[in-house]
Amino acid sequence: MRFLSLVSQHRVVIILGLTLVISALLVPGYLSASTLGLGLDRAATIGLIAVGLTVLLISGQIDLSGGAVFALAGIVSVILQREIGILPAAIVGILVGTLAGAINGMLVVGLKVNSLVLTLATMLIFRSLAHWITNSQPVTGTDIMLSLALAKIYLDVFTLRSVLFIALIVLLHFWLTRTIPGRNVFAVGSNPAAAKESGIASDRIVFLGFVFAGTLAGLAGVLQSLVTNTGSPVFGSELTVAVIAAVVVGGTRLEGGKGSALGTLGGVLTIGSLTIAMEFQSVPAYVQQVVSGLILILLVVLDRAVTTKGRASGTRPALVRDNPITQGGTT
């Protein structure tokens, strides 16, 4: 029991460590700076969206529209390049993500509807818009040299994307653990009613959470479109599931109130390094699916086994142990 809960608390580190050790043993040439750089870059796209989703999940909401926003923002940033130049177009692209997030947030808060259903609907809307404005054809940017420059690898390890991702994770970590608004997110997610009573503007926090998630999906989409010099209405269609899996592997709960930025970093890196290890060994895609599905299920079962033991049924999940705040305590 004690062992299990220890394992559970550090499970992201353990699973990441195991992945790396097993990969290093089985895959020749796995442990190298270039693999690390590769892993980070692979993790960055998923990771940027995961940063936004982490905040949303902690606040008790979910966003399924991230993949569609990713495509839409990228398309806008490419289409506008000819009209207003590359940098302004990129900014407008990111703002499209912000706007999409604001729409999600406004509808969830304003209509008081479940975010799962709502973002399922807006996913359809944003994806259809992406097909609509491009007539279902990929669109091409103006400057392919920029794409090459953006994908440049620094110090053998870092790309612009991966640096941005790591920086955002660090910032998010401090924001969630050291600031009052950050802690309020946990309060809203673990008990909305109590949070409201203690004076936290939970509607505003939820709304801003969606705006944040939308902006980051937009940022990831714009970066992807710049790096590939292409905007396509089919980009990101498989992304949402991967992002949710990464965040949950990192220990964030769909029920809200629990999660961390560093956990998400671990989850994203685990998925990234696992994918690369299996690709190095030519493991077929469907076997890769089975492996990642199993890891996901095993981790949540472990999480559940540990948290349900030792507390009476009918109480809330044990949040207090992992988190400095008690429910709705800080304002």
Partner: protein
């Protein structure tokens, strides 16, 4: 059975290794469209079997029809410092930066199965495989012939935004314009290469246009099947208008024999896979290759249906 096969591979590999020496084993990165797909799977298998004969090791990465995944997998290939890259592109542009990085690393790359835009030309040594645009043109000619150059047709297209769909639809419509055929397109609908979706959209098309439909062009045989079934439901006793498909599947051959379909176009996945790896092997050996190496496309109608092998 698998054991036997891999034994064969090992034997073949050993033979090649014995003749060339251990040191020269080359690795080629193969970024395929998907591992689990009616056309891609036999193409992958053929490519790998041929690679084993040639003593080339294949690093096989599946995009699972996700372009973004593929662009990242190109980076994996470059990082693995492979001796060559065979890419199955799913988008005309998005892979160019990745191909450029491969070129910087002196890794030769070729395309299999689907084309990319002309901007990609400086970065690839060759493009092997069927020409989806050409297939669209052939389909247009075939349907034109069936209709005597006159009529109204519907197009049942694959996935919106997919490279094969774009090529097969624009090849068809461009060719109709080019030949000044008096054939107008009533509507183009997407059915995602899915038989059930094709069945549903076909029901609607039949309700909407009824007898106006004098011909049908489906982006693949699976969707052509969907239209045939919908037509039989609506008009059990009336013969369907001429239907043209692509791919040369077994059941399409049956349909052509029984007059349910007018034609299909055979492209062999096995040829597709073998040609790509053969070409890459020549490049690695330092030989010059042509920048476009097509695999044969055969239009199959009732006249030659018994003389041609179905693709899968």
């Amino acid at each position: 059975m698998i054991g036997k096969k891999s034994m064969l591979h090992v034997a073949a590999m050993a033979a090649v290794l014995a003749s060339t020496g251990w040191a020269s084993a080359k690795t080629v990165c193969y970024v395929t469209a998907a591992d689990s797909h009616a056309y891609a799977t036999p193409a992958n298998k053929a490519l790998q079997a041929r690679a084993a004969e040639l003593g080339i090791e294949i690093l096989s990465l599946s995009q699972d029809f996700d372009v973004q995944k593929g662009t990242e997998q190109l980076n994996t290939c470059v990082a693995r410092k492979v001796d060559g890259i065979i890419l199955w592109p799913l988008d005309p542009q998005a892979y160019i930066p990745g191909l450029a990085r491969a070129q910087q690393a002196n890794i030769p790359a070729i395309l299999i199965n689907s084309p990319m835009s002309d901007d990609a030309k400086p970065f690839i040594k060759s493009f092997t495989g069927p020409d989806v645009y050409e297939e669209g043109k052939l389909a247009a000619d075939s349907l034109s012939k069936a209709l005597g150059g006159k009529g109204s047709v519907v197009i049942i297209a694959g996935q919106a935004g997919n490279g094969t769909t774009i090529g097969r639809v624009s090849g068809f419509t461009d060719r109709l314009k080019e030949t000044n055929a008096e054939i107008n397109v009533l509507d183009t609908v997407n059915a995602d290469f899915d038989q059930q979706k094709a069945l549903v959209v076909s029901r609607d098309l039949i309700t909407r246009f009824g007898d106006q439909i004098s011909g049908v062009y489906a982006n693949d045989d699976t969707m052509a099947r969907g239209f045939i079934d919908a037509w039989k439901e609506a008009n059990p006793s009336k013969a369907a208008p001429p239907i043209v498909g692509i791919n040369g599947q077994k059941d399409a051959f049956e349909s052509i024999r029984t007059n349910e379909m007018y034609s299909t176009i055979v492209q062999s996945p096995v040829e597709d896979g073998r040609l790509a790896i053969n070409t890459m092997a020549e490049i690695i050996e330092g030989k010059e290759v042509k920048d476009r190496l097509p695999i044969p496309l055969t239009v199959v109608t009732k006249d030659n249906v018994n003389a041609v092998e179905p693709a899968f």
